[in-house]
């Protein structure tokens, strides 16, 4: 395909500059997004199994609610009924609940003993999964403007540029696309290999990237967009306002739990109920949020769909699943969410999204490397902007991953030391991140890349080792039998440990045996290297 030269050059510049400006924050957003596909599993993995109380048979829930609400005032307003095996049957907030990050959220768990007695305990909730999700949405940029996170706004703007970068990337790739699509030239130098793999990954995951770019812009700016739409709608209301009920309800009027399951069965097909979250039970505005899942369907989130209704009269106020044939827009809107959150194709879909997220992170990382490569000078010491960008890329990208891995690693140690875990997670992340960033700038990109990769490999290796250790330590009663998903997390940590080790070896090889006039080259150490290496590097 032929495209005019000036168009190609225009879009090549656009691609370069939008890419280099947004690459770093998007890198964090993508790899953390990969992890957030397994947010619940990570929280479950991190939470000591002794925090959860044993499940009860389905017909005992009404008895449990009655006993809990007559013994605890808080349980007369809000509580959550869980049907999942590894969660407590009934929980409610004691302190520190509410919206947003809940670092000091203390929850009371309740169950019934075999004799039918109420058993409760309070625990600080584990927010590790939520923190990873926050990292995904904000790239770790703290602060708020009004009720909106600064990081979310910044990622929203980055996503606009990322959309432009995607489109410009296709435009200037078109003339050579057919010829070099599957070309992965390893024999034409590292530069060519990075370019080929950057293009290959970009093209094969293009639909995914367009979806992500578009949805992130909407997630960041939907309030603004609705504001504009209200002008379009004129006198028509944007949202139907539910009529304000004057009826005051009390908890003793609450229908049986089985009636909700029956209602969901009537409304939907093939869905199972995961949990019922009741709120405002003794007020004029009661609500129950029902989480339902069906791995055969396209779900709004990877964790399920929602129905919100009045718990006393079963009137549905909001639902993410289609309720009747006339309702054409609900599934369309739900599909946008689903395509971002990977809520389709069940667990296979989640793993695919996990991999695509990592490939996305690779796309931004390799993009930065290509930018550096393109501005390389034929001299041993590269220009100052180049060195700065290289240090920043290594410090931010590898530093952020190291910070997350270190936080995962320290999680079980925090519990063994019996300290406030959630605040320490946050402290641990930022401490490691900035330490790595400072290290990158003080030791240079090449050396710090090797060292951080080694550190990553060791930290990943210690995650399963820590788990093994908790089996031997006296406090190990904290963790009972490991569930399958937790075992998978240990396994994935091992795989990544090997991958980072391999990365470190390759980076080291590049430093001593690669192109000497490069930002990644290191002077050959005379003691440890043999003569032939010296000959190679001086040639």
């Amino acid at each position: 395909m032929k495209i005019r030269g000036d168009i190609l050059r225009t879009y090549q510049s656009i691609h370069t500059w939008t890419g280099i400006v947004t690459g770093l924050v998007l890198f964090i957003g993508f790899y953390a997004g990969s992890l957030s596909m397994f947010e619940e599993e990570i929280s479950h993995w991190a939470t000591p199994s002794s925090h959860q109380l044993p499940q009860i048979p389905a017909d005992k829930f009404d008895e449990l609610i009655l006993k809990a609400s007559s013994n605890f005032d808080k349980a007369q307003q809000d509580f959550t009924v869980n049907f999942t095996d590894n969660l407590s049957p009934l929980t409610w907030s004691e302190t520190g609940g509410g919206r947003g990050l809940r670092l000091n959220h203390v929850m009371r768990h309740a169950t019934l003993s075999e004799q039918g007695e109420l058993v409760t305990q309070t625990n600080l909730t584990n927010e590790l999964g939520d923190l990873i999700d926050t990292l995904h949405r904000t790239a770790g940029i703290a602060g708020k403007i009004g009720h909106e996170d600064v990081g979310v706004i910044i990622l929203g703007i980055a996503a606009v540029l990322y959309f432009i970068a995607l489109l410009s990337g296709i435009i200037f790739l078109l003339p050579t696309l057919v010829k070099t699509f599957f070309a992965l030239r390893t024999n034409k130098g590292a530069n060519r290999f990075w370019l080929d793999s950057h293009n290959l990954v970009g093209i094969i995951s293009l639909p995914f990237h367009f979806i992500i770019a578009m949805t992130v812009v909407v997630f960041a700016f939907h309030d603004v967009f609705y504001g504009g739409l209200s002008l379009v709608y004129g006198d028509e209301p944007l949202f139907e306002r539910g009529e304000k009920s004057k009826i005051e309800y009390t908890i003793d009027q609450l229908p049986l739990i089985a009636s909700y399951l029956k209602k969901v069965d009537e409304l939907t097909e093939g869905y199972t109920v995961e949990s019922l979250a009741f709120s405002g039970l003794s007020s004029s505005r009661p609500s129950v949020g029902i989480t339902i899942s069906n791995h055969q369907a396209m779900m709004r989130n990877s964790t399920g769909d929602f129905i919100y209704m009045n718990p006393y009269n079963f009137e549905v106020s909001f639902s993410s699943v289609q309720m009747n044939d006339k309702d054409v827009y609900t599934p369309l809107v739900a599909s946008f969410f689903s395509l971002h959150f990977g809520g389709y194709a069940g667990d296979l879909g989640r793993w695919l999204y996990f991999i695509m997220g990592l490939l996305g992170a690779f796309l931004f990382y390799s993009g930065n490397l290509l930018w550096l490569e393109k501005r390389r000078q034929k001299q041993a010491i590269q220009t100052k902007p180049n060195r700065f960008m290289a240090c920043l890329t290594i410090g931010v990208c590898l530093g952020s991953i190291l910070a997350v891995v270190t936080t995962l690693l320290s999680s079980k140690w925090f519990y063994l030391a019996d300290v406030q875990v959630n605040n320490l997670y946050l402290a641990c992340y930022y401490f490691t991140f900035f330490a790595a960033l400072i290290y990158a700038f003080s030791r240079g990109a090449s050396r710090s890349a090797i060292h951080i990769l080694y550190a990553l490999s060791i930290a990943c290796l210690f995650i399963p080792l820590t788990t093994l250790l908790t089996r031997i330590l006296p406090n190990s009663a904290l963790w009972g039998s490991e569930s399958f998903s937790s075992l998978v997390i240990e396994l994935v940590a091992l795989v990544f440990s090997a991958a980072f080790y391999y990365g470190a070896l390759k980076t080291k090889h590049r430093a001593y045996h690669g192109e000497p006039n490069s930002i990644w080259a290191l002077p050959v150490n005379k003691v440890s290297e043999n003569i032939s290496d010296k000959a190679l590097s001086s040639a």
Binding site: I14, A213, V218, F225, Y226, L229, L231, V232, Y233, L332
Partner: protein, 99 residues
């Protein structure tokens, strides 16, 4: 293909084109969404349609913004996008006036 002379080629005009694409691209997206909201399937009051309308804005806006750099000059970008805006909003208000 004959070689283009300097003034036949696309001029960079980054700031002007970006401004045109960002502002006029967004208003253009709103114009298209406005027509769809009132006269698309289901009309203005179809349930959940307001959310779909909100979702429509972004892809249209970003597509226009990305392609704005194809205009030869910044002034041309503003002129053409401005004209498209005027045309679509006229159509919208005409339809509103009819009904």
């Amino acid at each position: 293909m004959a070689r283009l002379s300097a003034d036949e080629k696309i001029q960079p005009h980054w700031w002007l084109k970006t401004l045109a694409g960002t502002v006029l691209g967004l208003t253009l997206a709103y114009a298209i969404v406005a027509i769809f909201a009132w006269y698309g399937p289901g009309g203005i009051n179809a349930p959940v349609k307001v959310q779909f309308n909100m979702w429509l804005i972004t892809p249209i806006w970003l597509l226009v913004l990305s392609l704005t750099y194809l205009f030869k000059t910044g002034i041309k970008a503003i002129t053409y996008l401005g004209a498209a805006n005027v045309a679509l909003y006229s159509l919208f208000f005409f339809l509103r006036w009819l009904s």
